[in-house]
């Protein structure tokens, strides 16, 4: 109606009618209601302000959570949106971590591969691209296999990767030795070193938070695009998808490539936060952690991936530091009177959380958020 009013060239939304759109552009916008726009802006500001509000050790954990969230978005794109169960995510994370480390490594070091490309603007896209390429090479298998069979093949990938990372000492430094992670330097700014205004941890967190926002936006755009719809079509009914013109091979290829790109970026960023890359880190346990993030956060949602990753990253701190202090029979290293090590406790917790969420709230943390939102939408009425 507003479009008909004289003098209004651009229709404005009516007050109190957030879902009434007067153009396709307004309807299809990413944040298509005032509530969403305000909410996301508030979240972004709050996320940035956390850098000032929290202590450095918490910021390191949150920075790690941001990196993990990028990886979880990647896994959610291929497993949640496109329905291709992948247990091989840890492998692509490893490829990204080593690509970035090797690129930014010191060329003078005789023992380790290093190309001296120290800027993040170069090694970060390269880490994603190489991992994406690895995904592209693996994808043809996915176009021929489904469900459990695909899961088993991608599981094999993790073991292959673990072996290569262990043996290729010129790249990885070998078991127990490792190598330094990529240089924390963005367009000449060494953000890991503190400045007069902020500490190194604060700056690192801000950089990773900004990157998470960027990659989340990219993931969300992909999900709402035609490519994302094709992912969902392949997931829900692949034969019907092909009969309406969706090329299954191309779609799965795209899903694996994008997912691996995100995993590669995640790998590179993880070792900006934790400065040492251990070749044993890219094991099945890491893949399971990513699956836990996706399931706990919410399958086929970008915001859920972020929530799941941040939740697990914080949980890690609780299990490693707080629980051993409270319960004497749990310790980081096995001693005579320890019942469980923290690693074992984590594994048990992941399993338990996955089971609890699958039974109680299959839509994950995202589903809990939807319930809260719907409650307040109708408040004070129950529906």
């Amino acid at each position: 109606m507003t479009a008909l009013l004289p003098g209004s060239s651009r229709p404005r939304p009516l007050r109190g009618r957030p879902d009434l759109h007067t153009s396709y552009a307004a309807e299809m916008a990413l944040l298509n209601t005032p509530g969403k726009r305000r909410g996301v802006a508030a979240l972004a500001v709050a996320g940035a302000l956390l850098a000032l509000a929290l202590t450095d050790d918490w910021l390191v954990i949150l920075a790690r959570g941001c990196a993990l969230a990028i990886g979880a978005i990647g896994l959610n794109l291929v497993t949640g949106y496109a329905g291709q169960v992948s247990l091989g995510h840890a492998f692509f994370v490893g490829v990204g971590a080593y690509t970035a480390s090797a690129l930014s490594g010191d060329p003078a070091d005789g023992a380790l591969i290093g190309l001296g490309v120290r800027d993040m603007a170069l090694w970060l896209p390269a880490a994603g691209a190489v991992a994406g390429l690895a995904g592209l090479l693996v994808a043809p298998i996915a176009t021929r296999l489904r469900g459990l069979y695909l899961a088993i093949v991608t599981l094999g990938l993790v073991f292959l990767g673990e072996h290569v990372f262990r043996e290729w000492t010129a790249l990885t430094g070998g078991v127990g030795v490792g190598r330094p992670g990529p240089a924390p330097q963005l367009l000449g700014w060494r953000f890991a070193e503190g400045s007069a205004l902020l500490t190194g941890a604060q700056q690192t967190y801000l950089v990773l938070f900004a990157l998470l926002c960027l990659f989340a936006l990219g993931g969300r755009n992909l999900a709402r695009s035609d490519v994302g719809r094709a992912f969902a079509a392949v997931r829900d009914r692949d034969i019907a998808a092909s009969i309406i013109g969706v090329d299954l091979r191309r779609t799965k290829l795209a899903a694996f490539t994008v997912s691996s790109f995100y995993a590669g970026v995640c790998g590179a960023l993880l070792y900006v936060v934790t400065p040492y890359v251990e070749p044993g880190s890219f094991n099945l346990n890491l893949s399971v952690q990513f699956i836990a993030m996706v399931l706990i956060g919410g399958v086929a949602t970008i915001s859920g991936s972020i929530m799941g990753a941040l939740f697990l990253a914080t949980l890690l701190r609780v299990t490693q530091e707080i629980i051993p202090r409270l319960l004497p029979f749990i310790d980081t290293a096995p001693r005579r009177d320890t019942l469980l090590t923290t690693t074992q406790l984590e594994t048990i917790l992941y399993g338990l959380l996955i089971v609890v969420f699958l039974i109680a709230e299959p839509r994950g943390l995202y589903g809990i958020w939807v319930r809260i939102r719907n409650y307040w939408k109708g408040w004070p009425f129950s529906y």
Partner: protein, 281 residues
């Protein structure tokens, strides 16, 4: 038929390790044709659709669509050449909204890459807006305005059938294959669907092949009918001719009763499943 046929199926044979699903099936569909395929359960009606849309590959015979051979071509390529299809059991993407399902029908018209999608570049945005507008025409045509943003899985059965027709129409097909479009529908829904089918033929000029068990609908709407029995074509022609064909009556009503159909048709319709010896007088 005066103009060149859109689809020519010639002498198609399809075997599933010993079971002959289709045996020497030939027919042609012209522009603006509403061609129906009927036959008892298991006669091979849906198999014909699966051959035409590339899900099955026949052992023998040819399928020519607008001059191109379709045998051995991938389903998605056949779809892009202009064959749209609906399914007997609804094959919609249940988690997606009506609009998203219809937009997926337009997948072939949205050719931008992953990069453009991630960056939501001008190209992707323009393509999405243009196709959203195109989909609205179908929403309007099929009168499903109130369901636009509902996930398809939550909609009633009759509406889902309509959305599936819409998804096939969104492809802008040059030939439409409709597998039992009114199966399980009540009278009103069936009449609505019949109206849509006639509108598709008259307004959109799309030739259709219809597989249907509702004989009233087939006889009222179809220009020509092909009757299959155990994979063999037993009659082709206008509905009035096919209805009187002795082989057709035998296939539907049982052995040897073609001649006495008027007397015994109602009794035999219920007895058709029994062996012939039991129904002999």
């Amino acid at each position: 038929m005066t103009a060149d046929p859109v689809l020519v199926v010639e002498d198609v044979r399809l075997d599933f390790s010993g079971v002959r699903a289709l045996d020497g099936v030939s027919f042609a569909v012209g522009p603006r044709d509403l061609f129906a395929v009927i036959g008892p359960n298991g006669a091979g009606k849906t198999s014909i659709f699966n051959v035409v849309s590339g899900v099955y590959r026949p052992q023998q015979g040819s399928v020519r669509f607008l001059g191109d051979d379709l045998v051995g071509v991938r389903p998605d390529v056949i779809a892009r050449r202009g064959v749209g299809r609906t399914f007997q059991n609804i094959e919609l993407f249940a988690n997606l909204t009506v609009i998203d399902n219809l937009l997926l029908g337009r997948h072939q018209h949205l050719r931008y890459g992953v990069g453009a999608a991630v960056a939501w570049s001008g190209r992707a945005r323009r393509a999405e807006l243009a196709n959203r507008a195109a989909v609205e025409d179908i929403v309007d045509f099929l009168e499903i305005e109130q369901y636009r943003r509902s996930p398809v899985g939550l909609l009633p059965y009759g509406v889902q059938k309509r959305v599936e027709l819409g998804r096939a129409l969104a492809m802008e097909p040059k030939l439409l294959l409709l597998d039992e479009p009114v199966a399980g529908m009540n009278l009103e829904e069936t009449e609505d669907m019949a109206r849509f089918l006639l509108d598709i033929r008259d307004e959109l000029d799309i030739p259709m092949i219809l597989v249907e068990h509702d004989m009233g609908l087939v006889m009222d709407l179809a220009d020509r009918v092909l009757v299959l029995d155990f994979g063999r074509p037993i009659a082709v022609g206008p509905p009035t001719e096919v209805q009187r064909h002795p082989d057709v009556l035998r296939a539907y009503l049982g052995e040897e009763h073609g001649a006495q159909r008027d007397v015994r048709a109602s009794a035999l319709a219920t007895a058709a499943d029994r062996p012939p010896s039991e129904v002999r007088p």
